[in-house]
Symmetry: C2
Subunit: 406 residues, 2 copies
Amino acid sequence: MARIVMKFGGTSVADLDRIRNVANRVKREVDAGNEVAVVVSAMSGVTNQLVKWCQELSPLHDAREYDTVVATGEQVTIGLLAIALQTIGVDARSWQGWQVPILTDGAHGKARVEEIKGEALIARMQAGQVPVVAGFQGIGPDNRVTTLGRGGSDLSAVAIAAAVKADRCDIYTDVDGIYTTDPRIVPRARKLPAVAYEEMLELASVGAKVLQTRSVELAMKQRVRVQVLSSFEDKPGSMVVDEDEIVEQPLVTGVAYSRDEAKVTLRRVPDKPGIAAEVFGPLSAANVNVDMIVQNLGADGTTDMTFTVGKTDLPRARDVLEKARPTIGFETVIADPEVAKISIVGIGMRSHAGVAATMFKTLAEKGINIQVISTSEIKTSVLVGAEYTELAVRALHSAYGLDAEG
Amino acid sequence: MARIVMKFGGTSVADLDRIRNVANRVKREVDAGNEVAVVVSAMSGVTNQLVKWCQELSPLHDAREYDTVVATGEQVTIGLLAIALQTIGVDARSWQGWQVPILTDGAHGKARVEEIKGEALIARMQAGQVPVVAGFQGIGPDNRVTTLGRGGSDLSAVAIAAAVKADRCDIYTDVDGIYTTDPRIVPRARKLPAVAYEEMLELASVGAKVLQTRSVELAMKQRVRVQVLSSFEDKPGSMVVDEDEIVEQPLVTGVAYSRDEAKVTLRRVPDKPGIAAEVFGPLSAANVNVDMIVQNLGADGTTDMTFTVGKTDLPRARDVLEKARPTIGFETVIADPEVAKISIVGIGMRSHAGVAATMFKTLAEKGINIQVISTSEIKTSVLVGAEYTELAVRALHSAYGLDAEG
């Protein structure tokens, strides 16, 4: 017997048939003797419609009223799923965020969960009832409904799993697990039985969009064991767990890529102390996130600075830099959106040298020029021309022995 | 300056343009220096869709979950209207039933309002803010959302008007007021400037479907002055008020009709004490409402009993009566759904004799046979063949001098 939180996203509850399907999955866990709570998103498409209405009325709509409107999506799903469960003989009851309560801060539209009172839910689960909890929502200090920002239902599920001390938080989605890389690029990508929290964070942030980053951070902090699995197939998914739980730790767990960044180069920046602050201070003030940074020393007391920003932030970044040009004193800004960031991720990298060298050698053999390199304890990322994305991912996937057999 | 509650139904908030239109109407009252609270229904069609989903999942769905689902309709509207009001510079804030709070009993799906804490709303109104309150919903003793039953938004509006001690409760609808009779039958029907609560109750119950009956009862009990007016035109409507407020009291205020009833006749019932209880007891136990009743003495110690029931209740009524036939001992049941109830209503009838006589004489002159008669202090109703409905209504409307000039 285990205590399980099951989370179903919008595509899994898109219509009444799928809601019935979800109810059957929940019943199976209950029949197996488990204590179960369910967290659901809005039926797919519903939230977009509600957001669109708010934006049509006013692009600058009040976030508190936005929350009142969009939180209804999940409210509909919890009621319908509770009815579907009752209909097949499962004792169930819906819970809105304010009923649990899921206490958040007052940042409407992107609130942070501060505390979940799990006692009532635990009591119901122990009595054999299945709480069906609205994801993505909570209640703020102003006694008004808050929402957690897009994708927030994953966060709700992990937070509730922590609050009810669940043995496992199962995130049902439209993929069946976490892969060594994108199977659309590498058909021989393998599903990973287990991934460490730290690896998942790196994979999520570089483009493996399976779990929302904040939910992985919370799972790591609260030590919630998360499983990612398919709501349409009936087979085990991938566990996201503490690294101690992972018996076999490969050097590289996965190869990720992101085409969401653009490269910015400042030519002939004066090479003087404090110059980095003069460049990155104004960008930070304008809410432009800077990722990879390299600085090359020039011959004449100037330097070239290269870094990446999100593609959508590029116009703003150029604008900020042009305005700061008199202070910084560079010659030109060169922007290149045609780049891709390729990353190898693995906790095994901590204890093994030479992992990055294999990456550089593999790319060189394929004639792929590396524009920027950045490293962390468990990740090495390189920036390459966007047209090399698939080639680089495939070559690295093979080089690190990740290809499936046969 | 007055304190006003404005209520808008589903067709008045059916899309974003109409919501903007409602916002403009509210702004006009605010700009005129009034304190305003607004009560709204769900966008038209939305509640039906939500109800359909619940019924498709299970015809015997849990009323608590049904309430969770259908209450979202109003929640969407309050958020959108609050945004629309803010956009045109009106300080506004949405309120769900549990936030006010609107306390109801626990009869989910058809809850009764028990108490509304008006203090918070009054404070906001006095501070110049417009509360936008979700109609049709409240919160039950189980800390769960309740709904008041279909048409319950009128009831919400009147209850809130009472709670905030409003000078007036304006019910915006798709008709522009209360008429002396149905203008589709009598083009010369006149809009009434004012109607007494008691009259409105009789008019509502006999088929003038402008205001939900429970909301009129509550308005009468709490002495809330209600105005019925059009949300699409800009002119005064009809006031529903205490009869003392009505200066000119005509003998007959209006002529109403209903084709929702069927006539049932029991032939040759034994004429003995207690026979009425034997007939109407089982009907009442089966939740069949009986309206007009007459009993004719026969020649041979038997009697014929005639009464009306709602047309939709007719199959159930026949079933109940057939089962009780051994006890009651009648010969046959004759059912006739082709009847109409025509009523004249007016508080002036209290103090004037001969009003009903004019009715009978008028109908006789048109050759219309009266099948059943029932009277109350301010109403006289007759049952006639359904094909005479329009003829009877027109003749009576003229006979009581209700036709508009010109």
